[in-house]
Amino acid sequence: MGIEDLSVAALWWAVIISGFYHGVNPGMGWPLAVSAALMERDHRALPKALGLLALGHFLSMLAILLPFSVMLFLVDWELQIRMGAGLIVVAMGIYLLVNRRHPRFLARVHPARLALWSFLAALAHGAGLMLVPIFLGICGFEQQDVGHEAAQTLMTSNIRLAFLVAAVHTVAMTSAGAVIAVFIYLWLGLKFLSKTWLNLDVVWALSLVCVGFFGIYSALYGH
């Protein structure tokens, strides 16, 4: 296994770990699955709610990743695109650090519309943006592998990759949330809800800044 394979593997792990990270955060929605099951007195409501949250999150990832995957077909501008993307992610992180207020429009979403809420919550917190530098990194390696193929092929491959990254990330996120939700629902009880809830606002914003800088760095010195 060459150093490049290792780097690609590391990037995929980053996709998975960021999924876990989003998933365990109650703010991303797993308590709503517990609530749904308790409200409907039916344990089947739990996976259903998690499914809806996952759908919203997945679409939110795609909404961010797809435009970048399309842009990358401008191969000559790859460096600028990757630098720009990194800067956007850093800017989002700094914005969230400075503006610690939560977006009020999220509170207007009907509590039964979990997919919509999950989509908007992920969008508002820059969850998709966090994946962009990682995604572009993976694209970089892929691009090298395929060499200078036709732009059309490249774009198709990047779009496929965007779906894959979003899917892997969402599966990781949902699994992490599901484990906690099931434990709380079946064994631990609601008292643990507030115990597992940590204020990650600052950590989250800093993660965006770090990932953004990583994107810029890898654009300049990596692939």
């Binding site: 007195r41 509170a107 609601l190 204020n199």
Partner: protein, 466 residues
């Protein structure tokens, strides 16, 4: 900002009941004639403390004539839903409106013994940003702090209907009107909701000219006070149904939904039925077709009394009306407490079956033409009014004043403020604690009570009791 949710945010009513008990109560001190500045009394309710049952601190505001009435928290258990997006608020500030001045005080009670004013919102800001006046009931919910008002715009508050406005729960900035479609709603009093089911219910007292200078007997006898309750799509901010309880059911006041968010019912107290002077409780619920229904499930009869013993307002009726002016539901949704301010009685109903309440306990104290003294022998002026139940359901606190000008009409020769507490028996029943009796400082009356860590009329829950 906390790193964890505030320990006084409870996921379910059951968890709230098991939490540590209250050590302090916060009670309104109001100067009925505006000769002194109003305030919030901090009361020691920890039986192990040397100052148990005493006012241990007062936050006196800098203005006169605010007339404090109801108040509430900046944040409560409603913050534990990911949907609201502010799980890390602190339950730290009391939002205290003046219903006469329309001024709103934000009081920091993080250290109850050093409670102090954090911010003052001047009336002009409220008029300008909301078009409403006379702010009243406070609830914290999905979009921040919701404040009900009793008046619209203009000097006498009749320029446009009253309603609810929203304040930011972190900066306390007044944001604006809540309603997007109010339907037929043209008067306002109380409101509360079920957060996961996304409905809100609101009620009606009367417009400012109908209460500010006293009860208007002609308006009451011609059934011109509020008698409807309104059901809203909470997040769409839209009135979806209005139920007229019948025009004889004058003044539909407190709205008490079941605390367990699985349930789709609640109660509303009606002050007086003008056909027979009864007080009444309606149970409202959502039927299988999703329509809201309401039915009278409790009636309380007036007590015949010689005209000579009655205030002028009641002499023609030769009876004391119960005057149901506050109700409160325990967190297990089992007991509904009903203050009969005219009779001088506090009733406890077992509402395990909300359609068939059963009287489980009763305390007599104060009352028109009766004036039952407290068990410690001291007087209890007026009658039982604002009632608050401890989260564990074992202690019930109440005060005695209804509203400055109305106190003077129904109890013309009385004056004073008292706060008392009754203990709830294992299987129901209610008994006044002879050792808990607070006489308010001279010139002050008392009204709403809030308990440290939340109580039975503040917290809204996002998860069922399981």
């Amino acid at each position: 900002m906390n790193l964890r949710p505030d320990p006084t945010f409870y996921a379910s009513p059951k968890i709230a009941m098991q939490a540590p008990v209250e050590n302090f109560a916060f009670t309104v001190m109001l100067s009925p004639d505006g000769s002194q500045e109003d305030g919030i009394a901090v009361v020691d309710v920890n039986p192990k403390s040397d100052t148990y049952g005493q006012i241990v601190h007062q936050v006196i505001v800098p203005y006169k004539g605010d007339e404090f009435h109801h108040f509430g928290w900046n944040a409560c258990s409603s913050a534990l839903s990911p949907l609201t997006g502010h799980a890390f608020l602190e339950r730290r500030y009391l939002i205290v409106p003046g219903i006469r001045s329309s001024r709103v005080y934000i009081i920091d009670v993080k250290e109850p013994l050093e409670a102090k004013i954090h911010k003052i919102i001047e009336p002009e800001e409220i008029f300008e940003k909301t078009g409403y006046s006379r702010p009243h009931t406070i609830h914290c919910g999905p979009e921040g702090i919701y404040v009900s008002t009793l008046g619209g715009g203009g000097k006498d508050g009749t320029d446009g209907p009253p309603g609810i406005f929203i304040m930011d729960c972190e900066t306390f900035e007044v944001i604006g009107q809540y309603e997007m479609d109010r339907g037929p709603q043209d008067k306002h009093y109380d409101f509360w909701w079920n957060l996961p089911q996304d409905y809100m219910v609101s009620s009606e007292w009367g417009l400012p000219p109908q209460f500010e200078n006293g009860l208007v007997a002609e308006d009451l006898l011609s059934n011109k006070y509020g008698h409807s309750i309104h059901f809203w799509d909470l997040r769409a901010r839209k009135n979806i149904q209005t139920i007229d309880l019948g025009e004889n059911h004058q003044m539909a006041l407190e709205i008490r939904p079941a605390h367990d968010p699985k349930k789709s019912y609640g109660f509303c107290g009606v002050v007086v039925d003008t056909t027979n002077l009864q007080g009444a409780i309606f149970t409202w619920w959502r039927d299988d077709d999703g329509k809201w229904q309401a039915k009278k499930t409790i009636t309380i009869d007036p007590r015949p009394e010689k005209a000579d013993n009655l205030p002028p307002l009641l002499q023609g009726f030769e009876a004391v009306p119960p005057l149901v002016t506050d109700i409160d539901l325990s967190l297990d949704d089992k007991y509904l407490y009903v203050a009969c301010w005219g009779l001088g009685e506090m009733h406890q109903y077992d509402v395990s079956d909300p359609m068939n309440p059963v009287l489980a306990g009763k305390v007599e104290v104060g009352g028109i033409a009766r004036g039952t003294p407290h068990p410690n022998g001291k007087p209890f002026v007026y009658g039982p009014q604002m009632v608050e139940i401890s989260r564990d359901g074992k202690r019930v606190y109440w005060t005695n004043s209804l509203y400055s000008t109305w106190d003077d009409q129904f109890y013309p020769n009385d004056e004073g403020g008292q706060m008392v507490m009754a203990r709830v028996g294992e299987n129901g029943g209610l008994e006044l604690d002879p050792d808990f009796y607070i006489d308010f400082p001279k010139g002050y009356r008392s009204h709403q009570i809030r308990l440290e860590g939340g109580d039975c009329s503040t917290d809204s829950f996002c998860y069922p009791s399981a």
